[in-house]
Amino acid sequence: MKYTTRLAVALVAATFAGSVGAQELQVPNLSYRTGPFASTGIPVMNGQMDYFTMLNERDGGVGGVKVNFYECETGYNTEKGVECYEKTKGDAIVTQPWSTGITLQVLPKTNVDEIPILAPGYGFSAMGDGAVFKWAFNMPSSYWDGASMILKSLGGDDMSGLKGKKIAFLHLDHPFGKEPLPFLEAQAAAVGFELLPIPVGLKEMQNQSAQWLQIRREQPDYVIMWGWGAMNTGALTEAVKTKYPMDQFVGIWWSGHSDDLQVVGQDGKGYRSISFNAPVEGAPLMADLQKYVYEPGKTESDAEQRGEVFYQRGLVMSMMLAEAIRAAQAEYGKADIGPKELRWGLENIKLSDARIAELGMTGMVPPFSTSCSDHTGHSGGWMLQWDGEKFVVSGDHLMADAAAIAPMEKANAAEYAAANAPWPTQDCK
């Protein structure tokens, strides 16, 4: 009976787990404070957590009901992620899967379980097509937006400066790194630049000498990086070693972690990273956080971290979710909303400049709005440049090339829906 009893214990434990009070809104976050990507995960998770702690302390939650923002640890491991999703979905109003692998697996399930999936700045770019991806949201910007903004900042608004140029695309050989490839290929054909995809295998992240040898040989005009975790530091140190000009080296928002740049310090001066949020240390929001969260010691973050891009990105992500909760509460006239109501809320975020100022976040995030057909919001973003010590905003606010992205989003979403038939869609007028 040894293992039957053990299984029976498991059963009992599992049925009782997950029964928590219904007075609060349950917002799980599938965090990764352990494992190989922990260093990049911790600041963002802290930011997300602190924002809701602040709301609970200052306003008593959102719309009068407290938000129980809790974490389920995945270690960036897909198996654990699915376990967390199953564990939390019972009373959760949203799921935040965090890794591309977990998103891949959870996305089809959320349709059946009817829980909105919030993947700010990651996941499929095609998720922006709200008519097809009814339950998925990736505002404020998708990877294709990021790629388009990078190209625009390099080649000017019409990208004419890129004609005849050679661009190396250094990316993690993984669904995440491959995501912008179709868009970049299409743009290369349309604008007339040469695209040189250079994959970095998961095992080669820390040793990219072969890739950088290729870069040295090919001498591309620009290197665009889609890196994550250990790959960023690997690439930056190799770039310094091969003396690749830093002002021709640009990364996506996940490649703009201050800690990664600190490794190369002054040598990394000039490196840029596109971002949908910008660090503003003196923002009014930070004062509130100081008063309600940091001083009473209700945080896991440290003072140094709080001014950084990643921590503040966490704040922005939670702010978007809180705005969605507010929108849903106003629409349905009740504070205790469920996943279906929140889905409507996520679809109707109206983040104007005035609203951002009201939230005390001026300059931290560009204004955007979502709709039934647009689940991304396409806020655009800023280029952040490493000045040797920290990231500073460089240049104006950039917008992605919507005319090029929208048809691709539609086509890819339709393809996904066809491959996963029967796939529920919604009608957007």
Partner: protein, 358 residues
């Protein structure tokens, strides 16, 4: 007293060689089967299905496949995950090329492909042994994962490079994909696992199993008594890879729902090897015990703090979990280096003579 064998007389060779010569074993298995087929499915929550029941069954099956090769035929393999990958990708290609195909049939057929690949990589075993063979299978591991990444045809030129399980029906019921209910998937997995386990038990007890064991214990001696080593080793590779391939297809189609190439990388191979070693090499039941310890226990441990209302951070739970499971593994290996199956065998032997130890 519970395990009293007194009075159970065997009057024929047939009875003596029966699958369960001791009646209590049969009763125990019957009880387990009733739990597995009736009690669990009726009482389990979605969470239990998805994180405990289905994964334990699938991991057990994979470990069983490895155990046939390593535990019974003595050929060390570090490429299990890659052979799982072959099964999963083969199943994916069959399903997408021939959408009319019954998914359960496709899963059972996908093992044929991995068996073929397994035999190909098993050929070096005719010349090399032990650690050297482990290196050869390691080559399979690296090569196949690389192939899953680079050969875009395998994942239908999908931009993300991952395979995603579509909604599949068998006789009008969804068995795979997001629309499938966990209970249906559990029953499909359970049926296939039960069937393969039954076949494996009989295979290892029969002529083929005996040639494997002879090869394992001393291949020179085996050859001298007339065992064809080529046949023995290659059949072990074929049967083992078939089971592993089927398990791989189940892994992706009945449980994960999607897979990227690096899922089938070395960590998974090691995990399965741990299950087989801790469960007990050369044992069928050990695979189940090992999978319960390695796959099921961490999940249960993870839910305990919340169950008792202890408020600790989820990352702390994860750290504690890793430490507890690690300590348990060491504990069990100290108590019984031959695995949990052997531990059970000792307990059973003690129970049979209890309460009179002499």
């Amino acid at each position: 007293m519970l395990y009293r064998t007194a009075g159970q007389y065997k009057t024929s060779y047939r009875a003596d060689q029966a699958l369960f010569p001791v009646r209590q074993d049969a009763v125990l298995l019957g009880l387990i089967l009733i739990f597995a087929w009736v009690v669990f499915p009726l009482s389990a929550s979605e969470f239990t299905f998805q994180t405990i029941l289905i994964p334990i069954l699938i991991y057990s099956l994979t470990a069983l496949g490895l155990n046939i090769l390593t535990g019974y035929a003595g050929q060390l393999s570090l490429g299990t995950a890659a052979f799982m990958g072959v099964g999963a990708y083969a199943c994916y290609k069959m399903i997408t090329l021939m959408p009319w195909m019954n998914p359960v049939v496709a899963i059972l057929l996908s093992g044929v492909f991995s068996a073929g690949v397994g035999v190909a990589f098993g050929i070096p075993s005719l010349r090399i042994k032990g650690f050297y063979l482990a290196i050869a299978t390691l080559a399979a591991q690296f090569f196949l994962v690389w192939l899953f990444e680079k050969w875009a045809w395998l994942y239908n030129y999908n931009a993300s490079g991952a395979i995603q399980v579509p909604n599949l029906t068998s006789f009008g019921v969804y068995v795979a994909g997001p629309q499938a209910s966990s209970m249906v998937q559990y029953y499909v997995v359970l049926a296939i696992v039960s069937l393969i386990t039954l076949v494996s038990i009989n295979l290892t007890r029969g002529n083929l199993g005996r040639t494997w064991k002879a090869t394992r214990d001393m291949d020179f001696a085996a050859e001298l008594i007339g065992i064809n080593l080529v046949k023995s080793k290659l059949t072990a590779f074929a049967v083992s890879s078939y089971i592993v391939g089927v398990a791989g297809a189940l892994f992706v189609f009945m449980w994960r729902g999607a897979a990227e190439p690096n899922l089938f990388d070395i960590p998974l191979s090691f995990r399965i090897l741990f299950i087989a070693i801790i469960g007990g090499l050369g044992s069928i039941m050990g695979n189940y015990l090992g999978a319960i310890l390695i796959v099921g226990l961490p999940v249960v441990l993870g839910t305990l703090p919340r169950f008792f209302g202890i408020d600790i951070g989820s990352s702390m739970v994860e750290h504690l979990n890793t430490m507890i499971v690690g300590a348990l593994i060491i504990f069990f290996l100290i108590v019984e280096p031959h695995g949990l199956a052997r531990l059970w065998a000792l307990i059973r032997a003690k129970l049979i003579i209890w309460p009179f130890p002499h």
